[in-house]
């Protein structure tokens, strides 16, 4: 009778140890899930690609401002951010609001974008290129070809065909977003 009671108590103890282990596991999982920031960098990069595509081409026809009498307009390339209404300088404004001594953003731009135009009859060599932002992010992005690293920049590459009245072009757009401090823990 005594043994039976003792056995019951030990089982009850094991039961509560199990409950504590399960509770601990659930707590750890929930804590790690909710205490990591939402990573929206890929979404941002995709939205930026759509934004650029809308700026470069309308209903399958390339923006006429892209060209001048000699071909692709260097002026459009130089003023690309203004022409396409893109603001890459946000982090500088952001940094003013942060403790400068902390250098949380390191003062470097958090975006990179690159657009390559290929003539449809020769898709090997780019005929015109536009690039803006922090070039160092390309290396950051390239590292992830074989394995994905959380703390490196996220990028998206996409392309589409468009016509300028005379020639057909393939336009490849690459956008990379860093912003690790706000998207990765």
């Amino acid at each position: 009778m005594l043994n039976k009671k003792g056995g019951g108590k030990i089982i009850a103890m094991y039961w509560f140890v199990m409950l504590i282990i399960i509770a601990g596991g659930i707590f750890a999982m929930v804590y790690s899930f909710y205490h990591h920031p939402y990573d929206v960098r890929e979404l941002e990069a995709e939205i930026m690609i759509n934004h650029i595509a809308d700026c470069l081409s309308n209903k399958g026809e390339l923006n006429s401002e892209l060209f001048n009498e000699e071909g692709f307009s260097q002026n459009f390339s130089e003023n690309f951010l203004g022409n396409c209404h893109i603001n890459l300088g946000v982090e500088e404004v952001w940094q003013k609001n942060f403790d400068v001594e902390e250098e949380a953003w390191g003062g470097e731009p958090q975006y990179y974008l690159q657009i390559n135009f290929y003539n449809a009859i020769n898709l090997e060599n780019s005929v015109f290129e536009i690039s803006k932002g922090n070039l160092n992010l390309v290396a950051d992005w390239n590292i992830q070809e074989e394995k994905e690293y959380k703390r490196t920049a996220k990028g998206v590459e996409d392309g589409f065909f468009s016509f300028n009245g005379e020639d057909m072009y393939l336009i490849k757009i690459l956008t990379i977003v860093k912003k690790t401090e706000k998207n990765v823990k």
Binding site: G8, A12, L19, A23, I26, F27, V30, Y31, Y34, P37, Y38, V40, L43, E44, I47, M48, N50, H51, L81, H85, I86, N87, L88, V90, E91, V93, W94, N97, Y111, K182
Partner: protein
Amino acid sequence: MFKKRNKKAAILMENVIFIILNILFLAILILFLLKQGQGAVLLEQSYAKQIVLLIDSAKPGMIIILDMSKAKDLAEKNGLEFKDIVTKTDNIITVKLSEKGGYSYSFFNDVDVGNPYPDTSDPENVNSYVFVIWGYN
């Protein structure tokens, strides 16, 4: 006979306590899970990023109406007015749901966004925020 009844009562009591403790454990676990998903820090971040992504995808002339009822409940619980929880400075959106908190995120789309304001079209049910995209800067 009396001894047998006592034994039965003890077994019943043990089982009742065991069931109560189990229910208590489950209740605490469920409350913990529910509370984790409704924290100010998490909601501030998710709303700020959601708003920024909406603005990034927007075109001039658009009016974005975003349901922020969860944010409203939490802000009012923390003593903040609904009209003060979303602010815009240049191209940075800040969502603030507690006195000490606040989360900011920036948008790249160079559009002129009017100051965000609560949607009062239905005065009895003000749960949404309005973002008007006027034009390109």
